[in-house]
C-alpha cells in the first residue's frame, strides 16, 4: 500500500482492520474518539461497530463478543476506564477466546481531561498485558500484535496510546486490510463464565500463573528490547522513548519498554550491567518502580528522586535536561527560553449560537444565589459564565447536587448535564435524587449529539454509529418514570420560555427537570440548517455591553458600540437580551 500521512488514531483503526477485527464498541472521549469514528465510517465494513452508552457497557459487550470467539475492541479515554473498571478486573479472570483489546487513551498534561491518571496502573492492577506505543507507526504494528497476544494467552490486552500518539501524524505505509472474519459461537462453560467464589478462586490462580510467561513473551516478541553500549543506560517507555532516541549518544545503552508486565529477570540482567540508569516515562513511575525493584548496585535516576516530573507531558527539551542532570550529554542542545508575559488568554469558548449559553444565562437570571453542579461536555465551558461550580466526572452533576442538598445547604441547586452524559451515567443519579427526596433542579442540555468529542451520535440522536435509524428515546419519559415532580421541555433559544420554566421549577419542591432543546450549531450547520444572522444598529446601541457580557464570540465591541461578526449563527438570543432593542435580524428594520 502507498505511504500516507496518517493520524495516530487512523493508524490504530486501520491496524484493527488488518487484524481482522469482528466487533468494536466504545464511548467517545478525547483523545480516543477517532478510532471508532474511523471504523464506523469505512466504505466497506465487514465487522460490527457501535457507540455504546458508556464505557462499562462498551467493555461488557466487547468481552462477551470475545467469549464467543470473535476478535473485539473496546475504546475509551483513560477516565472511561474507571467506568469500565468493574468488568475489567474480572475479565482478566474469565479470560477470552477471541482476542479482546481494550484501548484506553491517556492524556498526559490533561489537554482535554479531568485528570492525568496512568492506564498502565490498571493493567498491572488487573494483571493483564499492556502495550504502550512509542510512535504512530509502532501503534499500528502493536495493535495487530495486541490481538494475537490476547489470543495466545487468553487474556484481554490493554492498549494504551497517549494524546501525542492518537493526535500525532506520521508517514505510514499501512498494511493490507484482512477479510478473515469469524462468527461468534458461545460455548457454555460455567467454570469460566460464572464467577461464583468456587470458580473465581481457581480462575485467579490460573491468571497468576500466566504472568511470568506473558512477561517473557514480551521480550521474545521484541516488544521490550535492550541494547548495551556502555556503563550508563537509559530505559524509556511510551512516546518518551522516541524523545530519548533523538537525543541518545552512541555510547549510552538503551532499553525500550513497549509492554507490561516487564520480565524482572530480563530487566535485572540489563540493569546489572550498568553503573547508572536513567528511567524516562510520562506520568507514573511504573517502569522506574520495576527497575528499582531489581537494581542491586546500579544508581537509578528518574521521577522518584526528582530528575523528571510526575505530572504533565515530556518533550525533547525536558528529556534533554533530565539527561544532562544525570550526567548524560544529549545529542542536541535546547536554549532556555521564556514566553512573552501577560498575553491575554484565549480559552476555548462555546460556539456562536450554542444553545447552552442562553440556558446558562436564564439559570443565572432566575437562580441568582444558586449552586451549580455541572458535568462533562462542551457546557463545562459555562464556567466562564459563572454557572459551573463543580465538575468531577461523567454523570456527577446530579449526584453532587443531591449530596450538597442533603448536607443541609439551603440555597437553590441547579445541575446542568448534556443528553449524552445523562444517558451515560446521569439517570442513576436522577433516580437516586428522587428516591431519596432531594430538592433541586436538573437542566438537561439536549442538543441531540455528543458534541465535545467530535459529534458522535447517541441514543437521543436517533441514529446508530453506522447511521441506522434507532428507536426514539424520550428524555421526558425517562425523567417522569424516575419520579421527577416537574418535567418541562423548552427551546434553548426562547429566553422567555426558559425563564418561565426556571421560575416554575424554583417555586416547586422535589426534583424538577427542565429539558432545554436546541441542536448543536455545528451539527445543525452540517445538516444544512441556516438562520439569518443578526446585526447591531449603532444608532440605537447605547454601549451598555449587556450583549457583550453574554459572551457570544460573534459579538465584538469597538468604539463604545457592540457589533456582530460573521460567526453569528442567528440564534436571536442577544436580540432578546438587548435592553434597547438595538439588535435585529439582518435585513429587518
Amino acid at each position: 500500500m502507498a505511504t500516507r500521512y496518517m493520524l495516530g488514531n487512523e493508524v490504530i483503526a486501520h491496524a484493527c482492520c488488518e487484524a481482522n477485527i469482528d466487533f468494536a464498541s466504545g464511548y467517545p472521549g478525547t483523545p480516543s474518539s477517532e478510532v471508532i469514528d474511523i471504523l464506523r465510517t469505512q466504505d466497506v465494513r465487514d465487522f460490527y461497530v457501535e457507540w455504546s452508552v458508556n464505557e462499562k457497557v462498551a467493555l461488557e459487550n466487547a468481552l462477551a463478543a470475545a467469549w464467543t470467539g470473535v476478535r473485539s475492541l473496546a475504546t475509551m479515554k483513560h477516565v472511561g476506564l474507571n467506568v469500565a473498571a468493574d468488568p475489567l478486573m474480572t475479565s482478566a479472570y474469565t479470560g477470552v477466546t477471541g482476542g479482546l483489546v481494550i484501548l484506553s487513551a491517556d492524556d498526559p498534561y490533561a489537554h482535554s481531561s479531568q485528570n492525568e491518571q496512568d492506564s498502565r496502573r490498571y493493567a498491572l492492577f488487573a494483571k493483564i498485558p499492556c502495550l504502550d506505543p512509542a510512535t504512530v507507526r509502532e501503534a499500528g504494528a502493536m495493535m495487530v500484535e495486541a490481538f494475537s497476544l490476547s489470543e495466545e494467552f487468553g487474556l484481554p490486552v490493554l492498549f494504551r496510546p497517549t494524546t501525542r500518539i492518537c493526535h500525532s501524524k506520521s508517514d505510514v505505509e499501512p498494511g493490507e486490510v484482512g477479510s478473515d472474519h469469524r462468527t461468534g459461537h458461545f460455548e457454555r462453560n460455567p467454570q469460566q463464565y460464572v464467577v461464583i467464589p468456587a470458580h473465581t478462586r481457581v480462575l485467579h490462580k490460573k491468571l497468576n500463573e500466566k504472568q511470568a510467561p506473558v512477561a517473557r513473551a514480551l521480550v521474545e516478541k521484541g516488544v521490550n528490547t535492550a541494547v548495551v553500549k556502555g556503563t550508563t543506560g537509559i530505559i524509556a517507555g511510551g512516546i518518551a522513548a522516541s524523545y530519548v532516541r533523538e537525543l541518545l549518544p552512541e555510547n549510552v545503552s538503551f532499553a525500550k519498554i513497549g509492554g507490561y508486565p516487564i520480565d524482572p529477570d530480563w530487566l535485572a540482567a540489563f540493569v546489572g550491567q550498568h553503573d547508572k540508569i536513567l528511567v524516562v516515562e510520562e506520568l507514573s513511575p511504573v517502569i522506574e518502580e520495576a527497575v528499582r525493584m531489581v537494581a542491586a548496585y546500579t544508581i537509578i535516576r528518574g521521577k522518584m528522586d526528582g530528575y523528571l516530573p510526575h505530572e504533565g507531558e515530556l518533550d525533547p527539551a525536558s528529556v534533554a535536561s533530565a539527561m544532562k542532570k544525570a550526567g548524560i550529554i544529549p545529542l542536541r542542545d535546547f536554549p532556555q527560553v521564556t514566553p512573552v508575559p501577560d498575553i491575554p488568554r484565549r480559552p476555548p469558548i462555546l460556539c456562536a449560537g450554542c444553545g447552552h449559553r442562553s440556558v446558562f444565562y436564564a439559570i443565572k437570571r432566575v437562580f441568582k444565589d444558586g449552586i451549580f453542579p455541572s458535568d462533562i461536555g462542551c457546557y463545562t465551558l459555562g464556567i466562564q459564565l459563572g454557572v459551573v461550580d463543580t465538575t468531577i466526572c461523567m454523570g456527577a452533576s446530579i449526584t453532587v447536587g443531591s449530596g450538597i442538598y442533603r448536607s443541609g445547604e439551603e440555597r437553590d441547586i441547579v445541575c446542568t448535564i448534556g443528553d449524552s452524559t445523562f444517558l451515560h451515567t446521569g439517570i442513576q443519579g436522577l433516580l437516586n435524587a428522587v428516591y431519596n427526596g432531594a430538592n433541586m433542579t436538573v437542566v438537561i442540555l439536549d442538543n441531540r449529539i455528543t458534541a465535545m468529542t467530535g459529534h458522535q451520535p447517541n441514543p437521543n440522536t436517533g441514529v446508530t454509529a453506522t447511521g441506522v435509524e434507532s428507536p426514539p428515546v424520550s428524555l421526558e419519559a425517562i425523567c417522569r418514570s424516575c419520579g421527577a415532580t416537574y418535567v418541562e421541555r423548552v427551546s434553548s433559544y426562547d429566553l422567555t420560555q426558559c425563564l418561565e420554566a426556571m421560575k416554575a421549577a424554583k417555586a416547586r419542591k422535589g426534583v424538577k427537570v427542565i429539558i432545554a432543546y436546541q441542536p448543536c450549531v455545528i451539527n445543525a450547520r452540517r445538516a444544512g440548517i441556516r438562520r439569518k444572522s443578526f446585526t447591531v444598529d449603532p444608532d440605537v446601541c447605547t454601549g451598555c455591553k449587556t450583549c457583550v457580557r453574554f459572551g457570544c464570540p460573534a459579538i465584538e465591541f469597538h468604539d463604545d458600540k457592540a457589533s456582530i461578526n460573521e460567526l453569528c449563527s442567528g440564534c436571536s438570543v442577544c436580540a432578546q437580551i438587548c435592553p434597547t432593542g438595538a439588535i435585529r435580524m439582518e435585513g429587518k428594520k
Binding site: 505511504t3 500516507r4 500521512y5 493520524l7 478525547t30 483523545p31 477517532e34 489537554h111 482535554s112 510512535t135 504512530v136 501525542r164 493526535h167 500525532s168 501524524k169 506520521s170 508517514d171 512516546i239 522516541s242 524523545y243 532516541r245 533523538e246 518533550d315 525533547p316 527539551a317 525536558s318 542536541r332 535546547f334 536554549p335 532556555q336 527560553v337 521564556t338 514566553p339 512573552v340 498575553i343 491575554p344 488568554r345 484565549r346 480559552p347 476555548p348 469558548i349 462555546l350 460556539c351 462542551c378 465551558l381 466562564q384 465535545m452 468529542t453 467530535g454 457583550v548 457580557r549 459572551g551 457570544c552 464570540p553 459579538i555 465584538e556 465591541f557 460573521e566
Partner: protein, 192 residues
Amino acid sequence: MSGSYDVLIVGVGGQGTILASNILGEACLIEGKSVRGAETHGMAQRGGSVETHIRIDGKFGPLISPGTADLIVSFDLLEALRYSHFLKEGGVIITNIETIIPTSAFQHDADVPGQEDILNLLSGRDVITVDAAALALEAGTILTQNVVMLGAAAPYLPLAVESLKEAVRRSVPPKTVDTNLKAFDLGRGAPE
C-alpha cells in the same frame, strides 16, 4: 542538529491549522521525505488557541521544543506573539497581520495589545506579515486564509513549490482546488 526542519503552525481553533498540516505532510510524501506532526484536537478547537507541530524530515517524536522551531506560521497576530518563544535563533515568523480579539477580553474589558504593540514586542525577530484576509478574498473566499499563509511560507520551506501545489490539490475538497491554488499563489507573492 536535529536534522529536521521544524514548523509550528498556530492560530485560533477553527482557522484550519489541521488542513495546513495535512498539506505540508502530503508535500513531504510527494518528495519522499519522512514527516512527524502533532495537532490540537478536542476542547481547544472551540475557538481556543491551537498549535500544530510539523517536523519535515522528522524521524523521532512529533513535538517541537521551545526555542527550536525553524519557522512559525501564525494565522493570527496575537498567537504569533504567544508562541514566539518557540522560534530558534535565526528562525522566521510568518504571520497574519490581523488578530481575532478573544471574546473573554471583550467580556472582561481586558487590554489586548494592538497591531503596533505586538509588532514592537516581536521586533527582535525576523517577522513577515501577510494580509491574509485581503488575499483570501481576492482568491475568492475568506475561507482560504490558511492556504494563503502556506503560500507565504513556501519560500522558507524545504519543499518544492510544485510539491506544495500538488499537496493542496490532494488535500482540499475537489470543488475548491482552483480557489485554493489561487490563494496559495497570492500568498506566495505576498511577502515583501
